[in-house]
Amino acid sequence: MPRPLAEDPFELHAWAIAGLLDACEGLSAEQLAFAAPGAFGTVMDTLRHLVEGDRFQLWAAGAGVPLTDASSMGSEQLRQVAAENAAAWRGYIPAHPDGDERVVDIDDSGWKRTATVGLRLAQALQHGIEHRTQVCTAMTLLGLETPDLSGWGYGVQRGVVSEVLPQ
């Protein structure tokens, strides 16, 4: 029985969030306070939202994790929550192989949402890449080098992608 197809996109997702947190580790306070036009907010606020939002997607999908407030977290705490999120996705995906399965979440205010597992995974991937791209765009506008967060970068680092350039 092959592994679930969704495993690799979520391994990339977790690897890219960790890689972005690493890349932002050395940024100055001024750089972390910079916001690209149209982005969620400053680099720091976007990193916090990226990690907190990923936790929300897991909670709403029924992964059995508590919500977290990342609004005042520093990089070390964000890294820890991101690692917990990665582990939770790793458990969730093989346990939910049917994209048509409907999962219900109800928040504290009584708001009820019913959505398929497939849609929840799509939303989680989109949310992650959207905000990582916002941070990378901010870094580019600041004149900084951006990390390679692509599937190819992930595959090369994992040792499962190889390229031979023309002679």
Binding site: W111, E130, G151, Y154, V160
Partner: protein
Amino acid sequence: MSSPLATAFEHHTWATLQLIDACRKLPAEALDTPVPGAFGSLLETLRHYINSDSFYLGIIDGGANRQESARRLGLDGLARHAEATGRGWRAFLQRPDLDPDANQHEVDPRDGYTRDAPLGIRLAQALHHGYEHREQCCLALAALGYQSPDLSGWAFGAATGLVEEVGPG
């Protein structure tokens, strides 16, 4: 029962078509304006990632849905191109027993460049690439002073009935 990843690729295609629709409302010069921090102009970015998407699919499905290059297409042509690629993703992801660890070998006939990568990584890269460049387009729209469309999974779910929300009370 469907693969959870099939919905992500449906969302991927839907979001591209929404983005193209948003771009149809712009003056022509806005489409060609280079945007700092982005891949290029809106039109260049759309052409790049839509062309790449069909290239990725072509490696994965062995060219079953091969199309002309998207590198010179206008918005209508790009929409048709993206729809055709979307149909290709749908057909491919319906195949049974897809193995994410199955290696796929590609060779660029122009210069001999080769890449070996398993299917799972290729699918991850295709989604990443599309989502990344669509967000660059949304940031470019904002930088140019235009409203960017809601391309989230929730918006896709609301448009397709995959999500239902009921307020309190």
